[in-house]
């Protein structure tokens, strides 16, 4: 019997992780991506390997997903991670009041934390605001976004997955009985249109998910929400520095190579393919970032950019849950052969893929367990060195 064929649309974090998972479960996998790996939201992610601390008070489902996946990624893909931890620092009365629910939330979500005196925190990170009142050490980390995705893609490729990049989905093929059974694609490098047949199509296009479901007359409640990030040309800290308060604008500063990156904001947008950087948001990042690390005022901007998060599950902007969901469109729209994975965060890419592969396997009556938790990933470089 031939292997079932899954076509995954999108080679961002969820697409490459789902390709890896389905390839391990015996699927014949083809990933199509209109640009190169990670050219959309995933590549432009802030790069915080979340401990879950950010969500421990208001969104504990996301917080637990984060701490569990954080620990798994440290094991399976250490070559793309700076596992140096993070600090939540309190600078005013409001921050101090957030301390109590923060401790309780972290305990409820099994996020290890250590309370530090301002002196202890400054000893670890001499460049943070010396006026801090309190600090908590938690197991945040940072990662290299493209290499994280490439590690999953390389591992998928080693198990037979094919990656067709610069290949854009133009329409979904229907079987005449209301089910999706393939994708019509434009190969941009040769300008040719090709039809790919599939036993299952996985829509892993994140913020763009609605554009794909629309092709089949289905829908998905995703709210694309861009945010601005600004990179400065000095590495002031070794750890992720978070403001000890409910999630807000510009309240995370991450080290990356010889830079720090301040993020982010939250706004609405019409055209997802080109989202301009808002200069007001760039100024806001400087103000907010300098509250955490005063030296940022004297640093030079190295890069300004925007990433468009796919938020789901209602709620607007900051109040939206950061968890993810896999939609079986047979259940939501009576369209078989198509599932959509969206929402979530970079940190939870593996769990998103596990859930999606579970749904795909269940729909197809395939009984294969997920093994990605314990499967070390290949070097990101092997994505480029392996034959496709």
């Amino acid at each position: 019997m031939s292997k079932p064929h899954a076509v995954i649309i999108g080679a961002g974090f969820t697409g490459v992780a789902t390709a890896h998972d389905l390839a391990l479960r015996g699927f014949d996998v083809t990933v199509i991506e209109r640009g190169d790996i990670c050219n959309g939201t995933s590549g432009r992610t802030h790069g915080l390997l979340h401990s879950g601390g950010r969500y421990a008070v208001k969104d504990q489902e996301s917080a637990i997903e984060c701490i569990d996946e954080n620990m798994i990624l440290r094991k399976i893909v250490p070559s793309v991670i700076e596992p140096n931890g993070g600090l939540f620092i309190g600078l005013d009365e409001g921050d101090l009041q957030y301390g109590e629910p923060f401790i309780a939330g972290c305990e409820a979500c099994h996020i290890p934390l250590e309370e530090l005196t301002p002196q202890q925190a400054l000893k670890l990170e001499p460049n943070i605001n010396p006026k801090l009142l309190t600090a908590f050490l938690i197991p945040d980390g940072t990662f290299d976004p493209l290499r994280l995705a490439l590690s999953f893609a390389a591992s998928a490729r080693a198990n037979g997955a094919k990656f067709k990049i610069y290949t854009e989905a133009k329409s979904l093929l229907m079987d005449g009985k209301g089910a999706v059974n393939g994708v019509k694609v434009l190969e941009r490098a040769s300008n040719q249109t090709v039809e790919l047949r599939a036993d299952m199509v996985v829509n892993a296009t994140g913020a763009w998910a609605g554009e794909i479901t629309e092709m089949a007359g289905a829908s998905v409640p995703v709210k694309p929400t861009p945010g601005v990030m600004v990179a400065y040309d000095q590495r002031f800290v070794q750890r992720a520095i978070n403001r000890l308060n409910k999630p807000g604008d510009g309240d995370i500063v991450l080290p990356q190579r010889r830079m720090v990156v301040v993020g982010t904001t939250s706004y609405d947008v019409d055209n997802l393919d080109y989202v301009p950087v808002l200069e007001d948001d760039v100024r806001l990042m400087l103000e907010r970032g300098a509250e955490l690390i005063p030296g940022i005022r004297n640093a030079k901007v190295r890069g300004k950019y925007v990433a468009t998060r796919p938020l789901i599950g209602g709620g607007m902007g900051r109040s939206a849950a950061r968890t993810f969901k896999c939609y079986d469109h047979k259940e939501t729209d009576n369209v078989d052969g198509l599932v959509t994975i969206t929402g979530g965060k970079a940190t939870t890419l593996r769990a998103m893929a596990e859930k999606t592969a579970d749904v795909v396997c269940e729909k197809m009556g395939i009984n294969m367990p997920c093994t990605t938790k314990d499967t070390p990933l290949l070097s990101y470089r092997q994505y480029y060195t392996m034959p496709n």
Partner: protein, 242 residues
């Protein structure tokens, strides 16, 4: 209001089997945007067939290297203001010394397999990251941290290197820099790889690699240092044989 410039973006185009030519696009830009923003705008609003590589948009991933007005640049951090003027032209081409996949996209497989060959590390302990401009204050515990290596494997150094242009087998600056960071003393198996005509001795000390490196790796200095390491290992080897 932000400043607006009208520029002509000349994009090198090459689809499979074609010889390369330039297509011109008139674009309105903010000069404080980056070259990559202008290219992405052409794709989003004017010509969906343009192929280019990009991911992080802030110089940490190394995907968006191109030749901008004949010089290798990481386009996501290259301000338009720094490479043209209002009414001016901006020429973007793919990196040299790699096969072109399509338009501005090249196949850098040779670079990545050579980096694997010398075991270039992607993460390393902070003291080995050789930070030349450490932050104003430096914690005494910094030694225990793990750092992503400075090299973002963008290929600019290979494209700019005159020696790489004459020999496709030359390991190239980024690869030799990776071997240097590992050290021959700790990794004696590297000696036979880097001590040869396609290794350090192919370098003609043009220092173009260091001039274009966007990530402070300084490959030229590292190649010179690797030569010193090789000579040292050879001398030590003589005594070992005796």
């Amino acid at each position: 209001m932000s400043e607006k410039w009208n520029i002509t973006l000349k994009v090198s185009r090459q689809k499979q089997g074609e010889t390369p030519h330039f297509d011109e696009y008139k674009v309105e830009v903010n000069p404080d945007e980056y070259v990559l923003d202008a290219v992405e705008r052409v794709w989003a609003f004017m010509d969906r067939s343009v192929c280019f590589r990009h991911a992080c948009h802030h110089s940490t991933c190394g995907a968006c290297g191109m030749r901008v007005n004949n010089v290798e640049k990481l386009t996501c951090i290259t301000y338009i203001r720094d490479v043209t003027h209002d009414g001016g032209t901006l020429k973007v081409e793919p990196l040299r010394n790699f096969p072109v996949v399509s338009d501005l996209v090249v196949d850098m497989g040779s670079l990545y397999s050579r980096l694997e060959l010398v075991g270039a590390r992607s993460v390393l302990p902070a003291p080995e990251a050789e930070i030349e401009n450490p932050p104003a204050k430096w914690s005494e515990e910094d030694g225990q941290y793990i750092r992503l290596a400075d090299c973002i494997e963008c290929g600019l150094c290979i494209s700019a290197c005159p020696s790489a242009a004459t020999s496709s087998d030359y390991l190239g600056p980024a690869v030799l820099a990776g071997a240097q960071a590992n050290g021959l003393k700790r990794n004696p198996e590297l000696l036979s790889i880097v001590d040869g005509e396609d290794g350090v001795w192919r370098c003609h000390s043009a220092f173009e690699c260091t001039a274009v490196c966007p990530s402070f790796v300084d490959p030229a200095r590292r190649i010179m240092n690797l030569r010193t390491q090789i000579v040292k290992e050879r001398v030590v080897g003589l005594f070992r044989k005796a």
